[in-house]
Every structure is written in structure tokens, then in C-alpha cells.
């Protein structure tokens, strides 16, 4: 029985997870994603001798392709390639959540700046324009009028890379100074936080503060439904939600969430909870 633990950088989260795995007695081998070389057409690799992979890579691209490659080579991961692929792409997430009937912010997808400007007009200002791939609130822009939309979208289109030409536009929600996050592990809602900020981007990487939140049944049910849409009952994700006049709406789902600021305020040892579920899964597989 062997767990592979893949990282790009060992953040506080990964250190806590490794210590929790040690307490669970899980035999764990660490791999640095920057040093991986996977033989897709056959060949030995220590990763292939592992029974389960826990990929905590910081890089969406590396996480997606390593997970997909290992799946193809017969080694499953805590979050499947489908989960990583869906959660790592905001547009794909919106599509999957919509198909499952999960309440969301009104969202448009367009493929030229001109069509995206029309989408902003139809949604009504202000709108929020986000890159389909990205984290920590980077390049997320609130746009208040047509002139600003045209300028931003033209600039985005010129950034290079095909993803810069996929325009993801959402209605702006005047949230009450906070958004909510629920940590879900294998079908259990284990902890909930509110992220509070004076800025409209409530991301802890941008200075938002965290408070523990009582897990209401409404919050838990919606987060579990969103997680189930992305990965059934076998995934570890953090579901971000916002309180709106229409009720709770799901914003996005994260497949490798940070939680160092969340365990203290919630009183839940999130690393221990996640490690316990991984240990359980490993026992079933091995």
C-alpha cells in the first residue's frame, strides 16, 4: 500500500497534509512535479508502483496532465483528471454546474471581443470579466461601462495564448462584503468559512480575512451538490458561494484548495479530515 504525494512547492497546506498522513500511518512517497518524466508509451516509474496519487501541484497544467497520464497508466488520483479539468477551468465548471441545475451567477461565454462586448451589454453593467484559467483573483476585472469593456477585452485578446480569446463574462453581484467557502471531502461538507474584504474581490490571497461559519443545511446541501456535479462522491474540493438577492449561488469550485487560514477559525483540522479520507480510499484500493 503506497500513496504518491505530488507537489510543486511545499506550502503550509502540504506540510500539514504530510504530517497528517504520517499520523494516519499512510506510507507516502513524495514527488516534485518539476522533476517528473512520465513514459506515456510504456516504461517503469516509481509513481506507477503507487496505489493512489494525491496531486497537490500548484500548477493547473501540471496537475491536469500528470493526473490524466497516470490514470491512463492505471494509477488513480484523489481527484480524477475530470475533476481537475472541470474545476481548473471556470467555463467548464459553469457548464457542468448548469447541467446539474446548480444555481449560479448569470454567465456568458464569447469568442471575440465584439461578441463579448455584446454579452456585457446584455448582462447589464457592472459585469465581471475573468480568465477561464487562473487563481488568487488574478486578472479578474469589474467593468462598469461599454468603453471600459471594449478596452479590457481588446487588451485581453492581444495577450497571446488561445485561452485569452475565450471570454468569460458574469453579472456583478453586490455581495454583503463576503463570500463563502465550503470544504468538501468525499461527499462530506467538513468546514465552512466566510471570506470578508473591503475590496469586491474576497480572496485571502488578496488580503481577505477568514471567519468560521456555521454549516447550515442549505449551505452544505448546495456545496455537496456542486461537488457531486464535478466529481461525484469521490473528490476533494472547495466550493465558493456568494449570498445574493436570489439566494445562495455557486461561484466556482477549487480542486486543490488552500486551507491554512481556515482551520483556526473553524476549529476543524482540515488537513486531518482530508488525510483520513485519503487513507480510507487507499485501504479500499490496496
Amino acid at each position: 500500500m503506497q500513496l504518491a504525494f505530488i507537489t510543486s512547492r511545499l506550502r503550509v497546506e502540504e506540510k500539514q497534509l504530510l504530517l497528517a498522513l504520517e499520523r494516519e500511518g499512510v506510507p507516502t512517497t513524495r514527488f516534485d512535479d518539476g522533476e517528473l518524466s512520465l513514459a506515456l508509451t510504456g516504461g517503469a516509474h516509481p509513481l506507477l508502483d503507487c496505489d493512489l496519487v494525491w496531486n497537490r501541484s500548484l500548477s493547473f497544467g501540471r496537475a491536469l496532465y500528470a493526473t490524466a497520464a497516470l490514470e491512463a497508466l492505471g494509477v488513480p488520483s484523489v481527484n480524477s483528471a475530470r475533476v481537475v479539468e472541470t474545476a481548473g477551468d471556470k467555463a467548464r465548471t459553469s457548464m457542468v454546474l448548469a447541467a446539474a441545475g446548480i444555481p449560479q451567477i448569470a454567465t456568458r461565454l464569447a469568442f471575440t471581443p465584439a461578441a463579448a462586448v455584446e454579452a456585457t451589454e446584455e448582462l447589464g453593467y457592472p459585469v465581471v470579466i475573468k480568465p477561464i484559467v487562473g487563481s488568487w483573483g488574478r486578472q479578474v476585472a469589474r467593468v462598469d461601462n461599454r468603453n471600459a469593456a471594449e478596452a479590457l477585452l481588446e487588451t485581453r485578446a492581444a495577450l497571446g495564448g488561445w485561452q485569452s480569446g475565450i471570454f468569460y463574462v458574469q453579472e456583478y453581484i453586490a455581495k454583503p462584503g463576503r463570500d463563502l467557502r465550503v470544504f468538501v471531502s468525499d461527499g462530506r461538507a467538513i468546514a465552512a468559512i466566510a471570506r470578508r474584504s473591503d475590496h469586491w474581490i474576497t480572496n485571502t490571497a488578496r488580503g481577505a480575512t477568514v471567519e468560521g461559519l456555521r454549516m447550515s443545511s442549505e449551505l452544505a446541501e448546495l456545496a455537496l451538490a456542486a461537488a457531486a456535479a464535478i466529481g461525484g462522491n469521490t473528490c476533494q474540493v472547495a466550493v465558493d458561494l456568494v449570498e445574493s438577492p436570489r439566494g445562495l449561488l455557486v461561484l466556482e469550485v477549487n480542486h486543490s484548495a488552500e486551507f491554512k487560514n481556515s482551520s483556526g477559525p473553524t476549529g476543524v483540522d482540515i488537513a486531518a479530515e482530508l488525510a483520513r479520507d485519503v487513507a480510507r480510499r487507499l485501504e479500499v484500493i490496496a
Binding site: 511545499l10 500548484l58 493547473f60 477549487n254
Partner: protein, 58 residues
């Protein structure tokens, strides 16, 4: 930790390390703020941590 603590590779300042440091862990230099990665414990060696890429995040 008994090993000699090396200086920060960026500014040569003294590093303040956690007692339970593990290989690969990130530490910040108190003097210059550089983010360092403990690439090995024996010998204790630090390098500048890899820079965050565009699609890195949670």
C-alpha cells in the same frame, strides 16, 4: 535542528527556521523577504523557491 544553518542565498542574512522543517518546505527570509525552498536537510541547503507561473494557484 543541529545542522549549521546556512545564510540566505539572496542576501546572506540569517535564516529563522521552524524546528520541524522538512525537505521541500518554503521559508521566507526575514531580512530580504525572499521565498526559499529547503532543497535538502543534510546538508541543509536552500535555493530561491520556483517562481509562481501564470496558471498556478489553488
Amino acid at each position: 535542528m543541529t545542522a549549521t544553518i546556512p545564510a540566505c542565498p539572496e542576501c546572506e542574512g540569517a535564516l529563522n527556521l521552524p524546528t520541524d522543517l522538512i525537505a521541500g518546505e518554503l521559508v521566507a527570509c526575514d531580512d530580504c523577504g525572499a521565498e526559499l525552498e529547503a532543497i535538502s536537510l543534510e546538508p541543509l541547503t536552500f535555493e530561491l523557491a520556483p517562481e509562481v507561473q501564470e496558471e498556478w494557484g489553488e
